[in-house]
């Protein structure tokens, strides 16, 4: 019987083609916009997640405190309050996976006739692990290079392109402030960070070499920044507490004195960026859902008109033996057919629109199976929900009244 009813529902849709198409259009626009909005929202979330993952996860930055001389305060990182042995002590703490002391600054890199200004980072091999940075060509420097202050360097993609063009940088020697450095490895590409800075425009050298040969430092062994990676995001608060306690103890800070260092949580930046895009995609979805709702109301409206128009038909059907639930099923099927057909067209248009957006802009688009399924389920739900009231109205008609209806 359901087959016969489906056939009749199809007929009824065809009988008033223009009206059916217009009603369907509501669903098409609703579902289409949900799909596009979800694709854009999820794409944005994906893009932010990608950027965040290039920064390294669960990171703290410990920065040395400020100094003041003759009333002039230096700002954070100004004073020589952190040193390499602090970093070694932090590395012994529970929940800490990698610790890398950092001394960095912008320097002019020179290779033959080419020169390029880039960020030079003096650090230890742990830095690469903490930021999950890979070597695509050559090899990394080691702890012994750090101990012996070797003149070796790892070069980022952007810096390499500017100095060497298409040539392989490995084995070449560049100069920084007249000191020669041998390139031993090329870093994998990370792209921009959340500030928009190119993370690949960099040169990584051993900390000791940086301090002795490049930047120079009045206090041997002191560093301005120590990067600390916690084992997991759950371990982060504990790590922050123990690092603070350890440094206060090592620096002999009395209870009533302020810290002579700062701890910054890089994850907090990442979290807020992720939260922003999550809210954005929710908002986009919510706006799109409103059009789906409007589409559903359109279906209800047309079904109500249809029930009134076909009152006599309903009377005839009841007279020849249709049960109330047969009438209910018939009208529900019609509403469902309109919404599902509209949904399918909307899905196709939505996916097409998302792909088109991807093609003409460089926006990242993610069309997930789950979002398509959700859109489909919601559309079917809308059909049943908004079709139910008119269908029940049809089923509850009095056969005598319905037969008499002109």
């Amino acid at each position: 019987m359901l087959g016969a009813m489906l056939g009749e529902a199809w007929h009824a849709m065809g009988a008033n083609r223009m009206r059916t198409i217009l009603t369907m259009l509501g669903m098409v626009i609703g579902v289409g916009s949900v799909v596009i909005m979800m694709a854009i929202g999820q794409g944005a979330q994906y893009a932010v997640a990608q950027t965040i993952s290039t920064m390294g996860s669960n990171l703290y930055i410990v920065i040395s405190g400020s100094t003041s001389a003759a009333g002039v305060r230096s700002g954070s990182g100004g004073g020589p309050t952190l040193n390499v042995s602090d970093a070694d002590a932090i590395a012994e703490l529970d929940g800490v996976t990698h610790v890398a002391p950092i001394h960095q600054g912008t320097q002019q890199l020179v290779f033959g006739p080419n020169n390029w200004s880039s960020l030079v980072v003096g650090t230890t091999p742990a830095y690469l692990d903490a930021r999950s940075w890979t070597i695509v060509n050559g090899y990394s420097f080691s702890e012994s290079d750090v101990r012996s202050a070797s003149r070796v360097a790892l070069i980022g993609k952007t810096a390499a392109e500017n100095l060497f063009g298409d040539d392989d940088p490995v084995g070449k020697t560049i100069r920084i402030r007249q000191s020669p450095f041998t390139i031993v490895g090329v870093l994998g590409s990370k792209g921009q960070n959340l500030d928009g800075r190119d993370q690949d425009d960099t040169l990584i050298i051993p900390l000791t070499t940086a301090q002795r040969k490049v930047f120079g430092t009045p206090f041997q062994g002191s560093v301005r920044v120590v990067m600390v990676q916690a084992a997991s995001s759950e371990a982060m608060p504990m790590v922050e507490k123990t690092v603070t306690a350890l440094l206060r103890q090592r620096h002999r800070i009395r209870d009533d004195m302020d810290n002579d260092f700062f701890i910054r949580n890089l994850a907090a930046v990442a979290d807020s960026a992720a939260a922003t895009t999550r809210v954005m995609s929710l908002l986009l979805g919510a706006i799109a859902s409103v059009s789906l709702l409007v589409g559903g109301i359109g279906i209800m409206n047309i079904m109500l008109v249809s029930v009134t128009e076909r009152t006599r038909e309903i009377g005839i059907r009841l007279a020849v033996g249709a049960r109330q639930r047969d009438i209910l099923t018939q009208f529900l099927l019609e509403a469902l057919l309109i919404s599902v057909a509209g949904c399918l067209i909307g899905l196709m248009l939505g996916i097409g629109g998302a792909l088109l957006t991807n093609a003409i802009t460089d926006m990242v688009i993610v069309i997930s199976g789950s979002s398509v399924l959700v859109a489909f389920a919601v559309a079917a739900g809308v059909g049943v929900f908004f079709g139910f009231y008119p269908a029940r109205k049809a089923a509850a008609l009095d056969p005598i009244e319905a037969l008499r209806y002109q």
């Binding site: 009813m5 059907r317 020849v320 033996g321 049960r323 005598i400």
Partner: protein, 236 residues
């Protein structure tokens, strides 16, 4: 009486109107045996339409009892009433009441949809019934393409399709000219000769003359009950 198709005892029906309770039908007793051809007559407002609605299980009585093929209709659930309308009763209306968008074959087979009959059998049956009322070859036509008399034949075919025990015809010739009316009435007579019980509402005496028994209503009562050949009507 075992072969009574319709047995009505003290049947009453009142409607609630603005002026209070209006009794449309009062204490009606009537027995219609299998194979009878009954014409129900009376002026408008006499209660004959109300009576037909009750006979057709489209309405429920306010008082009294109605047995259709020995089943007490008052005791039946809505779905069982639907089933009675579907299998036991066939309706023929004044306005034909065909579904305009469906072809004739599907119109005739419509009751079979609600009996859960398969598609192929429905179509076969639909064609058979069209042939029986003299409309073979019209299976794929739409109701709007044929004349009123032909439409009424289609409606009769639809009433017959589920082999009912009772055909209820409400002014079946009301919208037809006299020549076509005669054709329709002779079709009813043929069906009756084949053993089908027919109850027909009309206010035209020459139409009623085709029936073997004339029951006349006035003000909600039966005022006369004449059978040809003469016989005493069965008591409730």
């Amino acid at each position: 009486m075992a072969d009574a198709v319709v047995r009505v005892c003290a049947l009453g029906k009142s409607y609630v109107t603005a002026a209070g309770l209006f009794p449309a039908l009062k204490e009606v007793d009537l027995v219609i045996d299998s194979g009878e051809f009954v014409a129900i007559m009376g002026p408008s407002g006499s209660g004959k339409s109300t009576f037909m609605n009750l006979l057709g299980c489209l309405d429920t009585p306010s008082s009294g009892a109605y047995f259709l093929v020995d089943r007490d209709v008052a005791q039946l659930a809505p779905d069982e009433l639907s089933s009675l309308r579907n299998r036991t009763i066939g309706f023929v209306f004044q306005g034909f009441n065909l579904l305009p968008r469906m072809n004739l074959e599907d119109n005739v087979a419509l009751p079979l949809v609600y009996s859960g009959i398969e598609r192929e059998i429905r179509h076969d049956k639909g064609r058979q019934m069209l042939a029986r009322v003299g409309l073979e070859g019209y299976a794929k036509s739409l109701p709007s393409r044929i004349s009123g008399g032909q439409q009424q034949r289609v409606a009769i075919a639809r009433a017959l399709v589920n082999s009912p025990q009772l055909i209820l015809a409400d002014e079946p010739t009301g919208n037809l000219d006299s020549h076509t009316s005669e054709e329709i009435m002779s079709l009813f007579e043929t069906l009756n000769q084949e053993g089908i019980t027919i109850v027909l509402v009309t206010h035209e005496p020459d139409i009623a003359a085709h029936a073997k028994r004339q029951v006349r209503f006035l003000d909600g009562h039966i005022v006369s009950d004449l059978a040809t050949p003469q016989r005493e009507p069965a008591q409730c």
